[in-house]
Amino acid sequence: MRHAVGMTPAGWLCVIKQKEVRAPLDARSQTFRSIKMEEVDVEPTITNIPAISDGKHMGFAWGPGDILVYETLYKASGASGSGCSFIHEIRKDEDIYSPILRKLFNESHHIFVGLQTIREELPSKSKKPQFVSISKNYRSVIRACMEELQQVAVSTRNVELATQCGNQVSILLAIELIWNLCEVLFIDAAPAGSLLLHLLDWVRLHKADVDERAREVLQSESPAEHHDYWDVVVSYVLQGRLEEVRQMLVKQGTLQPAARSMYKQMDTLLSKMPFYNPGGTQTLTEFDVKWRHWHEEVDRCLQDNSFASNRHLEVICKILLGDEDTLLDHKELLGTWYHFLVTRLLFCHPTVKPTELHYYAQSCMTMFLDSRSVSEPLDNILLAAFEFDIHQVIKECSIALNNWWFVAHLTDLLDHCKLLQSHNLHFGSNLREFLLLEYASGLFTHHSLWQLAVDYFDHCPEFGRVYLELQIERVPLETERKALKVLRICEQRQMSEQVRSICKIMAMRALRNNRLGSALSWSIRAKDAAFATLISERFLQDYCAKGTFSDLDLIDNLGPAMLLSDRLTFLGKYREFHKLYGEKRFREAAKLLLSLMTAKIAPQSFWMTLLTDALPLLEQKEVIFTADQTYELMFCLEELTSSLNITASSTDRPMQEEDVEVTKVELLRLALARNLAQAIVKEGTVET
């Protein structure tokens, strides 16, 4: 159900929701393949891009949760004019950016994660109550959000915000209504008998305005004379809330002493109406017999005109008999066809089986809706639910709703209940994963909700990992803290390529800002030898230029990390040499210096610097380099100068610089010769 985008030359963008897209969109390149127009379920909605005027052409690019649209420079013959320099971002799932709905996303994430941990191997019988309670948790989160939105809508002075909140409330109301019905029919899967009780609860919960009106009536001075009195009574009857009806009728009965016996009779009828008790010992057949008995009694009362003198009581009596015409006379009070359905079932078929529902639903809908009025998306969704066509419910919801939250979570729950097994898609892996991926991709574009998406991807076995890999690299890293969070996510999932890439981004940024220490830390974390070498070079260049090391705290504490790259090892060791020298541990310093060259740890370009560093050691009063060491130093110098001569002849180096080099070499040779002489003398002396 990925949206497809078609461009029209008139500055219009069509977002088409499809039944299915045959070829899966290649996630890697986000390219757009083919749409088969005959598969389109509904007319595409058209989004007008205001800044792009008529007659202009547009190009677009897919993003993870949005589309970028720009004006192209295509010119029809004769047309002229400059192109528009704006890029437009078009977002499908706006709800993600609603501050109040963010609570919905956060809370439901928690429930989602809990649901995934329910163990597969448990027998389905013990899992069912868990699934029902999870479904209830989802619904209570929706309700909480709805209440908050309602409060904002009422309290705000901002008209636009109020309308927006109002719209969201009505969407959430519909979502909750559908979810609740799905819970009753699919998840709880109540058998005949209990089914009706659940449906009654469902209608009562979503037609709560009765209670409000009742409160108004009861709080008035004389409730029985209130103009809404009978409406409230009838509404209660329609919802099967007979206790409330009796309490209300008592008030009227006391006002009309003459009609007392009539009220008394109605009261008896109401009190005797049997309701199925699923926890009790009574079987469904016993209940049915009892109910038929009661039904006949009501019918008798109507036939012998017991209530003929009171219009209202007669209406109630007819309703109790489930008289269709009477029920349809109260369309206003019923409000919806599904209320009509449940009321009709209550008074005509209280032992309705799940499999018979669709028949009654269809007929109630036809009866209730005028032939002229068109059924709305919500009606179709509910009808599909009554028909137990889960896929149709999900499909219709995907088309009608403006967010993926609902379908993704509901489908996931139904999948856990093993209700979706038979269905396979021509693309992707399965419906559940497909919808979860869509929802999570939307979340990932949000600056704060992206972390939630990670858990959703984790629970998509087939493509979740690929999606995560692609998305995680694109999270903007404003701070190191955020980078660390992203890294932790990658490291926990052994996504080593992404770890390297993120560390590299951070290292490059540090390098750009001349923070060599940070850059080195990041490349050490990524175990990126090449980059560590690059940064070590920078450190050495800095040293050559300034004569001092920067970031000593870091270089002195490299530890085992030093072994990451040869150049880094050299940097660490070279710094160690300076430390030893500073501590006047000359012999050790000299030995280290020599080993840097002989073990080829130092790059040859740096040998001259090292030899120059040896100068002050050679000039010490005390002999530090032994004769053997001096020979080795001389060998190093010769090796260096011979290679330098080759290069010097090929390049035009300024005379002055060459002079300095020559003097340096001369100085070194002199110092080495003198040191050698002293060393030979000294070593000879010691031996004798």
Binding site: E478, E480, R481, K485, R488, R512, S518, D551, N557, L558
Partner: protein, 339 residues
């Protein structure tokens, strides 16, 4: 008691009810209430009370801001702003930590700078450039003139502001592994005892008077420890929170040599505890944290959050009140912490 929490680039002031009435019955006083909020540029990486009605925030844009909470009108306004206090020549450098001791404010950042401000002065009092070659993650006061910083290569640095030099007076470090440290807190009474938390989730207790390595290392969390706090009045209790989604309550039982398993259940040990040491268990000269040895069961840890999913980024504790904020965009308030 008011709690401050930034959400979606806003700084918000919440009232969670007075803490005087807690301890009575179930201690439930309804939901926290939002008093007022103000826009905040960038992510809030740290925040601190300067005094009764001023708060200092550290922003990912590198800005340091003082907000003033007007309690009469329940509004909040910017009282002072140092934009780009931490910065690179052509880029933002997030300010990662702030600590204040009115009127002085010390901030640290990814740019490795330590900056000292005074709330009553517009300019900057002192800057230590290149105080660290890596990112400084947190800062706290050791004494009035000394601060402690922790960095991303596992070092704890002590800075003495009486000295003019721009180098630390002492560097303590974890041996070898260079595990980044993310948070630091000082024992409220015994100032030489310092606790830090690092990337591997380990809790380190340091004695800054002796040694350059931590006194003890304790395995705590399985991911980055974002914050560590000693209880301000009962420092035998310590709280840590982490990226792994847990909030831990640590308790050393210094008051008794009796192993904790002989003291019965948790609650009864709490009762006996308050009966035995009414003035608090931190009277002994040798701190429990330095004599503490987790293997002997003298250190107890308790998980404070029911389920662990998303990172717990920040926490604070005062009296019996514990507050924390998570990546699930939720604030948890526990009004009855057993301390």
């Amino acid at each position: 008691m008011n709690v401050f929490f930034p959400t979606d680039n806003r700084i918000s002031i919440w009232s969670i009810g007075s803490n005087l009435s807690t301890g009575m019955e179930d201690g439930f006083e309804g939901d926290p209430q939002l008093l007022c909020e103000h826009k905040h540029d960038g992510d809030v990486l740290d925040l601190q009370f300067l005094d009764q009605d001023r708060i200092v925030t550290a922003s990912s844009t590198g800005a340091v801001t003082i907000f003033r909470h007007h309690q009469n009108s329940q509004t909040i306004s910017v009282s002072q702003l140092w934009a780009r206090a931490h910065c690179y020549p052509c880029d933002n450098a997030p300010c990662t930590g702030v600590v204040c001791s009115s009127p002085e404010i010390v901030t640290v950042g990814e740019d490795g700078r330590i900056i000292v401000f005074r709330a009553d002065q517009e300019g900057v009092v002192r800057v230590i450039e290149n105080a660290d070659s890596s990112t400084i993650h947190a800062v706290t006061y050791l004494r009035t003139t000394e601060i402690l910083t922790v960095n991303s290569i596992g070092q704890l640095k002590l800075w003495d502001f009486r000295q003019q030099s721009n180098s630390p007076s002492q560097i303590l470090s974890l041996s070898g592994d260079r595990v980044p440290l993310h948070c630091v807190d000082r024992h409220p009474n015994q100032q030489h005892i310092v606790a830090t938390g690092g990337q591997d989730g380990m809790l380190c207790v340091w004695d800054v008077r002796q040694g350059n390595t931590p006194f003890s290392l304790m395995e705590a969390h399985t991911a980055e420890m974002w914050e560590v706090h000693f209880h301000p009045t009962n420092p035998d209790h310590l709280f840590t929170c982490s990226e792994d989604g847990s909030l831990l309550h640590w308790e050393t039982s210094s008051h008794s040599d009796m192993p904790s398993f002989l003291q019965g259940g948790r609650n009864s040990s709490m009762v006996s505890r308050s009966a035995m040491a009414p003035a608090g268990g931190n009277q002994s000269l040798i701190s429990a944290w330095l004599s503490g040895d987790s293997s002997k069961g003298r250190l107890e840890t308790t998980h404070m959050l029911p389920s662990q999913t998303l990172s717990v980024n920040s926490l604070d504790v005062l009296g019996p009140c514990l507050v924390c904020g998570t990546d699930g965009e939720a604030i948890f308030v526990n009004r009855q912490v057993p301390v």
